[in-house]
């Protein structure tokens, strides 16, 4: 069964460093998302992406964040200068669109020291 994959599973970085989280959505999907879950809190929407541009972004998704689909398979989230409060689980999701459900990846745990 096709699935969304994410790498790495765990990333540790120093405050102020740039990180890139990678996702490979399901191949025929058209809509891509990033969500964030700070430990012990709910999952929060960051950004949606369709047709090589951002469809919607939340207040959390400030200028420190960017997304890209550099090729036909990867979907990346970049955090330019990480802060302690960026420590969280980051989930990628994708969907064909329309009435179809979103499929979530296993998440990347980001720890900022």
């Amino acid at each position: 069964e096709p699935e969304v994959t994410q790498t790495p599973s765990h990333q540790v970085t120093q405050m102020g460093q740039e990180v890139i989280l990678r996702c490979v959505p399901i191949s025929n999907h058209l809509y891509f998302y990033w969500y964030r879950q700070i430990l012990g809190q709910k999952v929060e929407f960051l950004v949606s992406f369709y047709n090589n541009e951002i469809s919607e972004k939340s207040e959390i998704f400030d200028d420190q964040f960017s997304v890209e689909r550099p090729d036909g398979s990867n979907f990346t989230l970049k955090i330019r200068s990480t802060k302690l409060e960026d420590s969280a689980m980051y989930f990628c999701a994708s969907t064909e669109g329309g009435r179809n459900e979103q499929f979530f990846g296993p998440g990347t745990r980001l720890t900022v020291l």
């Binding site: 058209l30 809509y31 998302y33 969500y35 879950q37 809190q41 709910k42 999952v43 929060e44 929407f45 949606s48 369709y50 469809s55 919607e56 689980m89 989930f91 999701a93 969907t95 064909e96 669109g97 329309g98 009435r99 459900e101 979103q102 979530f104 296993p106 998440g107 745990r109």
Partner: protein, 116 residues
Amino acid sequence: AQTVTQSQPEMSVQEAETVTLSCTYDTSESDYYLFWYKQPPSRQMILVIRQEAYKQQNATENRFSVNFQKAAKSFSLKISDSQLGDAAMYFCAYRSAWGGYQKVTFGTGTKLQVIP
């Protein structure tokens, strides 16, 4: 904006018994989806069950069923014959049916403990 509320931070159930997790939501839309996701300690998000708002019949998936009350904006999850593997965080979630890019809005979660 849509909101999802889960008022039970933690619940416990004896193995083989039945437990119901509560969820309410607020929306002005008439067409939408509701979901229950399970998040075990591995923190992966696993879809448990899905309900389409235009369907009056409550969704069921094996031991999992929902009680969808559209007028009351209530969407509870019933787990029958609870098993140790059901222990996890459970998130109720909402998604508009309009627009393929619509985000999922999550509740704060209910931590379910299964007692042997």
